[in-house]
């Protein structure tokens, strides 16, 4: 953990700040990213991703959330610092990580089936085999029957389900999701969040989830990393510990849930005003 910045208010945000001895699947260590022209996006960002948990990265828009995620994916190179996946430093994209893109990044000329199987296709998996796997995940994201449709025939929410199926199909341990629901409208978004949680509870994956929605972060996350505005630093790492055994409606009305949303909002508001 980096030290909290001096502006940090003394809120009781301390159910856990990451110091507990959970096994880290990914360690983000002292990441700094400077773009050409001297624009500093990240400065000394460090946090751990406990194995099998869902961690959200949240912060003011343009604060470097996506940059952090892309460095973890190996798509962007850090100026300094390291990302360790199972102890070895990330030097580029790898089979241990799969990415879900904010803009879906589906090939418009390919069917849902081929898009979902594309990660396996690139790995040289035989057609019959990769399509069987893709069909399985298309069913898991509730898109059965749309295998032969093209992306332009689907709604935004359905397209992102294809993106999710593609990422799940390569069976990576770590799932990196870049604002996956940003282009999905609100009603579908809630349904999608619930589906995602159900799906992930079977898959035992370590998930990083970039979002700008506090409600979404509190609802889906085991752990939330709050970033300050650029250059981004880690403001706090919190663990809301919402009990998700009850149904989604009562979770969203749960005082603990609402309390967490409010606390994180207070935390972020300082940076927005500052």
């Amino acid at each position: 953990m980096t030290d909290p910045p001096p502006t940090s208010p003394s809120l009781p945000l301390s159910s856990d700040t990451g110091g507990r001895s959970r096994e880290a699947a990914v360690r983000v260590m002292n990441l700094t990213k400077e773009y050409p022209g001297g624009i500093r996006a990240l400065e000394g960002v460090s946090f751990d991703l406990p194995r099998g948990e869902l961690t959200s990265i949240i912060g003011p828009s343009g604060c470097g959330k996506t940059t952090t995620l892309k460095i973890m994916a190996g798509l962007v190179e850090a100026t300094a610092g390291d990302v360790l996946v199972d102890g070895s430093p990330v030097r580029g994209p790898g089979p241990d990580r799969a990415f879900v893109f904010q803009d879906f990044a589906l090939m418009p000329w390919a069917t849902v089936l081929r898009n979902a199987a594309f990660g396996l296709e690139l790995r040289g998996v035989a057609k019959r085999e990769r399509e069987a796997v893709a069909r399985e995940y298309i069913a898991k994201v509730n898109l059965s029957g749309f295998e032969d449709a093209y992306p332009h025939q689907l709604s935004g929410g359905m397209r992102q389900r294809v993106g999710l199926a593609r990422a799940l199909a390569v069976d990576a341990d770590i799932l990196l999701m870049d604002e996956p629901f940003a282009s999905v409208d609100e009603q579908i978004r809630r349904k999608f969040q619930e589906d995602l949680l159900n799906l992930l509870s079977d898959e035992k994956k370590t998930v990083v989830f970039v979002t700008h929605s506090i409600e979404e972060a509190v609802y889906v996350s085991d752990q939330i990393v709050i970033l300050t505005r650029g250059p981004a630093q880690v403001s706090k790492v919190v663990r809301p510990g919402i009990d998700r055994d009850s149904d989604s409606q009562s979770i969203r009305r749960d005082p603990a849930y609402l309390d967490w949303v409010e606390r994180i909002w207070d935390e972020l508001r300082d940076y927005l005003e500052g």
């Binding site: 994916a73 190996g74 798509l75 994209p93 790898g94 089979p95 990580r97 799969a98 990415f99 893109f101 803009d103 990044a105 090939m107 418009p108 000329w109 390919a110 069917t111 594309f118 990660g119 296709e121 690139l122 790995r123 749309f146 032969d148 449709a149 093209y150 332009h152 025939q153 689907l154 709604s155 359905m158 593609r166 390569v170």
Partner: protein, 261 residues
């Protein structure tokens, strides 16, 4: 969802043939009317032109003329179709090829080709090769430049996606860059084919009086304007039909997502 979108597009394109037929009829009626004014003694009525057209079709005049015009056109368009697309792809993928080739084709595209065509005779004489060269000269720039743009403008997000899912360089080109650019490449090919027709006719008008270009020149000199117009009409028809066929071929073979399911 799928069905809804299809039914919507179905409503718009429900009666395309009716509309197209009406539009063609309107133009032909205007032509006939303009011929009766008459606009000029060199402007025949549509009815006269179509009679001349049928006659030339029947007596083998068109067959003889097009057996002269089409071979160099086909050879030229095939050469640029294959060579031009490859050159454009190379320029889109390699900065060196881009540095070498791009300025040449931009200048070629901007320059008035009709002014260059006469120069061909100095190098290739007045035979088959000269015609082929004229076709290449006119069709190459648009084919090369469109291919180049198609390749170099591959969507960043898809490139990043392929990288995240561990595509090799070759896979990235073959599975992302080429399919993403194929729309622009085919558009270039269609425009190039149309330009190729221009090149072939230009060569026949300016360099070697043969084929359909010769028909046009000949009937102008004998003041048989209906026959001259019929010749011009024939090359316009042939060019339009060829370009449409190419477009249909593209949709059928390469763009399954554009096909109505």
């Amino acid at each position: 969802m799928v069905a809804r979108i299809q039914s919507r597009s179905g409503r718009i394109s429900g009666h395309p043939w009716l509309l197209r037929g009406l539009s063609i009829l309107l133009v032909l009626a205007l032509w006939e009317w303009a011929g009766t004014i008459p606009v000029s003694i060199a402007f025949p009525k549509f009815s006269e032109t179509i009679v001349a057209f049928v006659e030339m079709l029947g007596d083998g005049t068109f067959v003889a003329a097009y057996s002269e015009t089409i071979p160099p056109l086909v050879v030229g368009v095939l050469l640029t179709g294959i060579g031009g697309i490859l050159a454009g792809i190379a320029m889109g993928l390699s900065p060196k090829a881009q540095w070498l080739g791009l300025p040449l084709f931009i200048v070629l595209q901007a320059s008035p080709s009709a002014a260059i065509v006469p120069l061909i005779t100095f190098i290739y004489g007045i035979g088959f090769a000269a015609k082929v060269f004229a076709v290449v000269l006119l069709s190459a720039p648009v084919i090369v430049l469109n291919s180049y743009r198609g390749i170099s403008n591959a969507p960043r997000s898809l490139l990043e996606m392929s990288e995240a899912f561990l595509a090799s360089r070759w896979q990235r080109i073959w599975k992302i860059v080429l399919p993403a650019g194929s729309g622009l490449i085919f558009a270039g090919l269609r425009l190039g084919l149309a330009q190729g027709f221009t090149g072939a006719v230009l060569a026949e008008l300016i360099i070697t009086p043969t084929g359909v270009g010769d028909l046009i020149t000949f009937y102008r000199s004998t003041a048989d304007y209906a026959y001259m117009f019929a010749s011009i009409l024939s090359i316009i028809l042939l060019a339009s039909v060829s370009v449409s066929l190419l477009q249909n071929l593209e949709k059928r073979i390469f763009r399954p997502e554009m096909r109505p399911a």
